[in-house]
């Protein structure tokens, strides 16, 4: 050891250790997270296409899967969405599944399922920021969980609150 000058030894040590950590970094799964793509939704697309787009939004841009599961039970922190269409139809008298879903999407805290804490962000506001068309597609997809999609882009909603309502900043999602 006495033959290698101390500074060089230390450089070697530093480089080697850094190299090892870099290797550890290379050995884990590598995944790039890309910002969501803007999906162009024509106003006259079919319900099937809406379901497909809705599924993409649900799994991607809408980041719904970060919290919600489909077909899981046990100690959940958020409601499971399997069969949601069936339950949604019966939850509020006078509300169809679509109306219930729409209202729950626009105002997440309005109907909190018993046993869960309110915690869902408003998805029509940043950071998620879906527009009305996209939310319609998500509703179409949710309908297929436990039923058949029925909505079209023109389906009127009972819920009419516009996306610009509310004056609270985005942090309103904290309990």
């Amino acid at each position: 050891m006495s033959r290698i000058p101390i500074p060089i030894q230390l450089v070697l040590l530093t480089v080697a250790l850094t190299g090892v950590y870099t290797m550890v970094g290379q050995s884990v799964p590598q995944k790039e997270v890309h910002p969501p793509e803007v999906i162009d939704i024509a106003s006259n697309i079919s319900t099937d296409d809406m379901v497909e787009i809705g599924k993409d939004i649900f799994e991607g841009k809408g980041i719904c899967t970060t919290c919600h599961t489909i077909g899981r039970s046990g100690a959940l922190r958020f409601p499971d969405l399997d069969g949601i269409a069936t339950r949604a139809a019966t939850r509020i008298p006078g509300y169809s599944a679509v109306d219930y879903l729409a209202e729950s999407l626009y105002e997440p805290d309005i109907y909190v399922v018993e046993g869960f804490n309110p915690g869902m962000p408003q998805i029509n506001k940043p950071p998620i920021g879906l527009n009305d068309d996209e939310i319609m597609c998500v509703i179409a997809y949710l309908e297929t969980l436990g039923g058949m999609a029925t909505v079209t882009m023109d389906t009127p909603l009972v819920y009419t609150g516009s996306s610009s309502s509310g004056s609270e900043p985005a942090r309103g999602e904290a309990p």
Binding site: L13, G19, G25, K31, P35, T66, P126, I128
Partner: protein, 617 residues
């Protein structure tokens, strides 16, 4: 006094004379008749010349007509804006962390020296401070570079930050000014002010430094967890924007981490000097310095996981989405890397303590414990680094019947990891205690009882931690998360109680000699490794803290629409972190070298006076 008025008079006269001269010159110039420049003469122009000239004129006209457009982004050559900013910001932070941390323990050490009258401490504090001045200017340089680059590369975003934070800039600059003042007067005034005055300067230096950090923290935490603004991003309250969700957690986390980091860098400096040292005196001095630096680092390391929990819980509180992205989403594997790093930190720190026993007479009686401690640390390390979702091949998945292993699956969850980290902390504390004990023999009458009580406390804390860890598998997630509080609590309580007992127990203890400088040189390489690992961990944590925003500049307010908007892979991130770390060490090596040049003599002289008198604190 008498000479002053004429001097001023001369000055005023000179000033007036200059003005008069300028005025005369301008007047003369304005009266002169106009002469046209000499026209180009001679040759006939070819059509090509004409065309070139026309094109130039057209281009000039076009340039004149161009409308100014605000640019959103500009590109940094080759590596791209993001990586450039990333590296510069990280370097700035690393130096800043060092500059902020060193005064903290320098002042404390100086204070100890002042109180005990032991010159040695004063010399040590001075030597730490020696590292500061160059680091300070490097910090400022990188800070300036960062600012310019932000303005140049991210003009729109920077503009927005100015909109929100402009009221904080003036205080920041002022504080920076004071920081420089206090720092240099603290360093250069060593031994020239009275001790109280000097200590006061040190304390002020720390206060100002901390205040600077708080302000800067406000800016960056605002980016992650914005507040105090309207839904459309307009500023409502600057104070609200400053005191956002993660501000205080980051402040706390950074202070503690800075201390640990500063300690480890200072220890690395000592290690470097130790290895270079030729004389036993030098070796003794730097051995001791390294020990103190490492001690500071470990004291900082122990509460760091808890500060991290606090930060994470505030992020959850701000947005569950973001919290889940951090722990379960895109960044979940990052925490496996982090576990490897922190496992290494604990292992190196313990290892250093065990090697340290080599320099203490009478430590042999504890040597046989080392292997058990090592086994515990290894097990905890393994548990902590066990991934939740395991990378496996097809056959492995088939044989496991899923992507989680029937036995190892239990190791990957929070209950196991919390338990592991708490046990790690306890074990490290035990290592420290053994080290501390090795140089002392208690003389109090209740020594046996005291030992038994200490042992009982450890056993109780360990069993509580283990029990709660196992219990966590049987309860719901909400309860399970809360279990970490009693786990941590019992560990902290145990540490405090044992320390109190230990202090009482070792009152008037018989001390054996600690032969500073005789430590196994391997330990010094460990100190360097610790510093590298610390730095690397800070780089990685910087990445996750910043990366959490995903494709937002300011989360939910300003979108990142640049080509760099995506979140890079962990592999890429670790490469950038590694480059940054290597750059940092190249620069810090330069700092060490400069510090070695400056005032070598006084240190050695002072160190000479003490080594044989040295006893462990």
């Amino acid at each position: 006094m008498k000479r002053k008025p004429p001097l001023i008079l001369v000055g005023v006269l000179l000033f007036l004379a200059v003005i008069a001269a300028v005025r005369v010159a301008m007047y003369v110039n304005s009266k002169a008749s106009y002469t046209a420049p000499i026209a180009a003469t001679g040759e006939e122009r070819t059509p090509r010349d004409q065309a070139i000239e026309d094109a130039a004129v057209a281009a000039q006209e076009k340039a004149l007509e161009r409308v100014y457009e605000e640019e959103e982004y500009r590109a940094f050559p080759r590596v791209g804006s993001r990586v450039a900013i990333w590296v510069v910001a990280q370097l700035h932070l690393l130096f800043a962390a060092f500059v902020l941390a060193v005064p903290m323990f320098a002042v404390i050490i100086e204070f100890i020296g002042y109180k005990t009258g032991d010159k040695r401490y004063d010399a040590l504090a001075y030597e730490f401070t020696k590292l500061l001045s160059v680091s300070f200017s490097l910090t400022a340089t990188f800070g300036a570079a960062l600012t310019f680059m932000l303005i140049a590369l991210y003009p729109k975003f920077t503009n927005y930050m100015m909109h929100v934070f402009s009221p904080t800039f003036l205080p920041y600059v002022l504080l920076f000014f004071f920081e420089a003042g206090f720092l240099y007067s603290y360093y250069y005034g060593w031994g020239k002010f009275g001790p109280k005055m000097h200590l006061f300067l040190g304390v002020m230096l720390n206060l100002v430094g901390t205040a600077i950090m708080f302000i800067a923290n406000a800016w960056l935490t605002f980016m992650t967890t914005p507040s105090g603004i309207s839904e459309h991003g307009a500023l409502i309250s600057t104070w609200e924007a400053v005191s956002n969700y993660t501000w205080m957690p980051i402040n706390i986390h950074r202070i503690i981490a800075n201390i640990a980091f500063g300690g480890s860098i200072a220890a690395a400096y000592a290690a470097y000097q130790f290895l270079k040292a030729r004389t036993p005196e030098e070796k003794a001095h730097y051995d001791w310095m390294g020990y103190i630096g490492n001690f500071v680092a470990i004291v900082g390391l122990l509460p760091l996981p808890f500060a991290g929990y606090y930060l994470a819980s505030e992020i959850y509180a701000f947005s569950q989405t973001m919290g889940l992205t951090m722990m379960g989403g895109a960044f979940s594997w990052l925490f496996i890397i982090q576990a490897v790093l922190i496992g290494n930190l604990f292992l190196f720190a313990n290892w250093y303590l065990w090697l340290g026993m080599g320099r203490v007479q009478g430590a042999e009686r504890y040597r046989s414990y080392i292997k058990y401690l090592l086994i515990i640390i290894t097990l905890c390390f393994a548990v902590w680094a066990t991934p939740r979702s395991i990378i496996s091949t097809i056959e492995e998945i088939q044989s496991m019947g899923g992507s989680s292993h029937p036995a190892l699956g239990y190791m990957g969850v929070m209950s196991a990891k919390n338990t592991a980290v708490n046990i790690l902390i306890l074990t490290t504390y035990v290592s420290f205690l053994l080290y501390r004990r090795s140089s002392k023999v208690p003389t109090v009458s209740w020594a046996k009882l005291g030992n038994a009580i200490q042992f009982a406390i450890f056993a109780a804390a360990a069993s509580i931690v283990l029990f709660l860890g196992v219990y966590g598998y049987f309860v719901e997630a909400t309860v399970r998360i809360k279990l970490s509080i009693p786990q941590v609590g019992s560990v902290l309580l145990a540490i405090i109680l044992v320390t109190i007992i230990d202090v009482l127990l070792l009152r008037n203890a018989k001390s054996t000699t600690t032969e500073w400088g005789t430590i196994n040189p391997v330990s010094q390489y460990l100190l360097i490794a610790l510093a590298v690992t610390f730095t690397w961990t800070m780089g990685l944590m910087g990445y996750v803290r910043s990366g959490l925003r995903l494709h937002w500049h300011v989360y939910g307010v300003i979108r990142d629409t640049s080509p760099d908007a995506f979140t890079p892979t962990l592999g890429f991130a670790t490469q950038v972190v590694s480059v940054t770390v290597l750059l940092f060490f190249a620069l810090i090596g330069f700092v060490f070298w400069l510090a070695g040049l400056a005032g070598k003599k006084p240190t050695i002289e002072e160190a000479k006076t003490t080594p044989e008198a040295v006893v462990a604190s």
